[in-house]
Assembly symmetry: C2
Homo-oligomer: 717 residues x 2
């Protein structure tokens, strides 16, 4: 997982993808679906049998063995240990009967482990610790290859300066500092983790003229204020460092090849690469720090007390400035160069429609050991690959192909998956049924999910089909809101920050992120097998449960007669997003009404609301020729692509989804209907009107496609 | 100054050269000398006038300006700043009218500034400071080129281990640890500065199997226990680091070319260089630490309390071992390679006997700014060069040549001077009247000196001739022991640790080290002009006073009709040394008596005791032909060479002086009559007898030479 969560508590591992969950929580019950959407009765019977067999296959022992093996050593992108992990993944998938291919890219990235140091210079020289304590309870913490914390793509630099505290380092925090009149030019900024993607802290600090940035983990945001710290509990102790990338380019992936794959330098197949000097990578040195070290700076600051809401969890009054008697030296030596990324892709070839692909994926590179982030997901996918391979050997090969992808270099900026998507964009646009992400998907008992609208229903149904390891209830029953709240569990809207981004926002493939959440000390040395066994999944049961959920979801998408997309959800969700935008306009005092779009969405809703019943009625009419089904499925598959805007968003030409896009001011959150949102935030009513027209066109097109499909299914339009 | 002092109080800057001062303190009045020994009455009158003029020339302003200029930047050997200092030295001496030559050598030494870090690993990660605090009172402490402490020639290594405290890290300390049964194999040893040369701490730690060594400055040995610390007072504060070389080869100078000059690699004039792998340079990583940082380790140690005498000045009970819960990581990255050393030698050509040389010298390379060590001496020599040049312009060119030498690379192992002596050994043996060292010679008001016997008298006389800047008394009067002690001030015997070593022990040239002593924080970043002005020489008066003393001493040696060597001192001092050896034999319970040697020395004393009177009687007989004087002077000059043993000492073939040699077990102290002392320490009575014979031969030879000379002077034998 690349980016931080809001408030960075790290308890809910799915945080980053749940950007707009609040907007979804009030939507009421999801569309009612029949027991096995998209299947004929005969197909459903076979599918049920296959699912029963699948459920029996993933074992705690297999999951545990894979995880322990993968997380033996720190294996960041570019390391030899990571190459060994890649070899292991390929070997296991080949052993399971999958066809395995490696896809390689040469990307511009930090080479090796950088030199980083932070020290007080005045009033005394005090080098600050930037590495986790060695704990008897966690032998991984003494691993010889364990190293101090750093931020990928920080600039090389050596600065000594006074300090300024900038709260979370959000846009509004820097605006506040400017309003108060705190000088930032030439200062070293201290910002706490949380509130936005860490890269934006660096971006805003740099724009404010800061000489450097220290990002620390405040105990209020994941430390002792949240409960006992590691090893007593799962919370951040005074030495725990959150590593992470600070790249904030308007596109994920290789910084030098937006929109096209960074094929190997010696392949001769890349038209051009950008000049690194011309790419907006950070220009100031940046480093993370644990709170035990940040406290040594913060406690010595002598300026004015901070505004309301800026006080953190350390036991003294936080100050805005350190004053001239307090200087800090920050040194970063981080050369960049070309580093080889290797995606390892296994394919279980579909028996009937091999050129339609259900894709599951998780990155395998890790900031440290990666037990929670990401390799619980990796081990789960290996366990699932073995189960699916075994089913195929038993004669239950899926009708469509299932791809299991292990991405490299996610932690440095979602690189491996993005390059792969850019390389295979045309094939994916034509063939990809769905992308299901497994990053950090095993950290505890609490199931959660975020997805594009079409996958929300299938996810809920999959959760109904799997027993929760903790008792005799299903995952779905555990997931339900507290008793008395009469509604479905909320499936959030996908945010940024992991490998679904290119699939979803660049190519328009329905995407989802599912996981069973719990604690993690992600991007720290304590993200180890020892922590995992103690606090995440002591019985190694949640991993196999996730394999069942992902496996059932994938098999339904792969085997359904008609793709079981939750098409009706578009109408409901879009109507909600339009209402949210109008509310936001009121907050911002931008005088706009989205009447045309509201009408278009209502019209779309009228059509999509008929889809589930039409599909089931069609299937109930008995068997249909495969060619006819295949044609219908192609139309279903094309629906979501209808919301793509080929030219890209006005603020981000790489992002082509009109439905969801990055928040360009936090890098963490996801904006819904981003083309309009951007104009709203800029206070440009004319721009809103212009983009509303773009959206109305797209929604009308989607409604027309839906009606065509309804007609093809034999439903009255 | 290369090496540490005993007890490392650093208050007496001449400490290292006063190795055997205790042995001298009781010798009673020195031989009575006439007012201007070695001069005819006419010569003495001229000399007095010249000395008066000389005394008026050195100014506080000139001394201050030179010192401030030289100490602008840290200028260790090999740095660009050091090359700029060399250029300045050459420019000033050329301006003063001296002929300036650069002598260059390519020596094997650390290249650039190494990477060094020390951190606690268990029970918590705590990087330790290894650099001086920035002080408002001393702006040099914030110099951008200021860096952390390190030890030259420490091995590259990265070790994490438990710790053992080894007191001063002396031979006897490691013997004690072995006797107690403290395991050292694979441990990191902590030893405090003091008690021996730091290189021997490393040597003994390595021999004991230690994985690494941390040498720290205990507050009992120069810190708060001695008085207010810097900047309040001149004592070591908790951040003050003593840098320094740890080379312990049996020869000073370039490690690869013992006995011959390390002429530049491209000169094609060096027969062979040793293979660095075959030279006994340290094999373990070593670093210095200030006591503020060492305390973080020491306070967490949990083993048995230390033996009596091992407790230092930190406020807790010192322990022998840290235990398994305390581990420390020591990392040193220190590549060695060839580094160019440049000696800058100015010559004021003698008017009558230019091929007899009176040599003054001081190194100019410094661990940091070098205000006290060594550049007070450098600035003094420049001030003196300007004064001597002015005298020459006024018609008072010295009869013999005076050389003013600025040595490079002393701090890494007395390299520049040693290579120069090795290059010019034959010339020096024939021509050098004396070598007078000025390393660290200006740090305060208290005059002190150490010398070979022949120069002791002339030094006392020079001190009589110069007014002390503090009041209307002479330097000599200040130097006298406290009222009531009816004796001459003590001139110590020369130890090791600075640039006189090669002159004295390799070629047998009479040598001396003179200085006006006070506080210094030598080898630390606080050895700055700011410290110097505050605590060493606030009026910049002691520097000019030293220029007068060295100038008068040099001019007397350069202008005397007969060299004014204190020949009589040989008899007295040798008798004392023989008695000391017999006492040491009793301590060691080695059954030896040095009867033959005692008799030979007594016989020598009978002859040398006549020399002063014979010389003066000769001169009183009126003028003599220059050729005759020159011949007599050659004989005088050859006397001290009579105590050379061409094959070298049995334990050190480079050291050829039978009179003084290095203590091979501490590297700091100087042994007198080292050939016998070595056998004594080994408890080898037969060896003592064998070496006694060598000494008797040499003393007999010296006595015979003395008698020949007496006869030539017309004295009755």
């Amino acid at each position: 997982m690349l980016s931080a969560r809001p408030r960075a508590t790290c308890i809910r591992s799915l945080g980053p993808w749940l950007a707009a969950i609040a907007a979804v929580a009030g939507t009421g019950p999801v569309e009612a679906t029949p027991e096995l959407a998209g299947f004929t009765d005969d197909g459903a019977r076979v599918q049920r049998r296959v699912e029963e067999r699948l459920a029996a296959l993933p074992s705690a022992a297999a999951f545990r063995a894979h995880l322990e093996r993968i997380t033996l050593d720190p294996h960041p992108f570019g390391s030899e240990a990571n190459a060994r992990v890649a070899d292991y993944l390929a070997r296991v998938m080949e052993g399971a009967g999958l066809e395995v291919a490696r896809h390689e890219y040469d990307v511009y990235a930090p080479v090796g482990r950088p030199g980083v140091s932070v020290a007080l210079v005045r009033p005394l020289r005090l080098p600050l610790n930037n590495q986790e304590y060695v704990l008897d309870e966690d032998p991984y913490s003494a691993h010889p290859a364990a190293g101090p914390g750093w931020n990928a793509y920080a600039a090389t630099g050596d600065v000594t300066a006074e300090v300024v505290y900038a709260n979370y380092g959000r846009r509004e925090d820097f605006q506040k500092l400017a309003a108060i009149g705190v000088p930032l030019e030439g200062r070293i900024v201290l910002a706490r983790y949380g509130g936005n993607y860490r890269g934006y802290k660096a971006k805003y600090a740099e724009e404010a003229g800061a000489a450097g940035l220290v990002i620390y983990s405040d105990p209020a945001n994941g430390g002792f204020a949240n409960g006992p710290v590691y090893p007593e509990g799962p919370h951040w102790n005074e030495s725990t460092v959150q590593r992470g990338s600070i790249k904030t380019l308007p596109y994920p992936g290789d910084p030098l090849t937006p929109g096209e794959p960074a094929l190997p330098l010696d392949s001769g197949r890349v038209a051009s690469r950008l000049d690194p000097e011309e790419v907006a990578l950070p220009r100031i040195p940046v480093t993370p720090l644990p709170y035990g070290s940040a406290a040594e700076i913060l406690r010595r600051m002598e300026g004015d007390p901070v505004p309301k809401g800026w006080q953190g969890g350390l036991p003294f009054t936080y100050r805005l400035t350190g004053g001239p008697g307090l200087t800090v030296r920050l040194r970063v030596e981080q050369p960049c160069g070309w580093v080889r990324a290797t995606d390892v892709v296994g394919r279980l070839r579909g028996a009937e429609v091999p050129d339609q692909w259900v894709i599951l994926g998780c990155h395998y590179d890790a900031w440290t050991f990666g037990a929670a982030d990401p390799n619980g997901g990796t081990a789960m996918l290996l366990t699932l690959a073995e189960a699916l391979g075994e089913l195929a050997r038993q004669g239950h090969r899926p009708r469509r192909s299932i791809l299991i992808c292990h991405w490299d270099a996610e932690e440095f900026g979602i690189i491996g998956s993005t390059e792969w998507v850019e390389e295979l964009r045309r094939d994916l646009a034509a063939s990809a049924v769905a992308y299901i992400n497994a990053d950090m998907c095993v950290t505890g008992p609490r199931f959660g999910a975020a997805a594009s609208p079409t996958l929300k229903g299938p996810i809920v149904e999959a959760a109904r089909a799997v027993a929760h390891p903790d008792d005799d209830r299903t995952v779905y029953e555990h997931w339900l809101p507290a008793a008395g709240e009469d509604r479905e569990p909320a499936v959030g809207n996908l945010g940024g920050g992991s490998d679904h981004v290119a699939f979803y926002t660049h190519v328009g493939i329905p995407a989802a992120a599912l996981g069973m959440g719990g604690p993690s000390l992600y991007h720290s040395l304590y993200d180890s097998f020892a922590f995992f066994e103690r606090f995440c999944d002591p019985q190694f049961a949640y991993g196999p449960a996730m394999a069942r959920i992902d496996g059932i979801l994938a098999l339904r998408l792969a085997n359904a007669d008609l793709l079981p997309y939750d098409v009706g959800r578009y109408g409901a969700d879009l109507a909600l997003h339009v209402a949210s935008l109008e509310k936001r306009a009121a907050e911002l005092e931008v005088a706009v009404r989205l009447d045309s779009l509201r009408r278009a969405v209502a019209d779309l809703g009228a059509a999509t609301g008929l889809m589930a019943a039409a599909r089931e009625a069609y299937l109930d009419r008995g068997s249909h020729p495969l060619a006819e089904l295949t044609d219908l499925n192609r139309q279903l598959l094309a629906l979501e692509r209808g919301l793509l805007h080929e030219e890209g968003l006005q603020y981000n030409s790489w992002g082509r989804s009109l439905y969801a896009g990055p928040d360009p001011f936090s890098g963490y959150a996801c904006w819904l209907l981003p083309g309009i949102r951007y104009e709203l935030e800029a206070g440009d009513a004319a721009g809103v009107a212009q983009w509303e027209a773009v959206y109305v066109d797209a929604v009308d097109r989607l409604a027309a496609q839906t009606r065509e499909l309804l007609a093809a299914l034999g439903a009255a339009p």
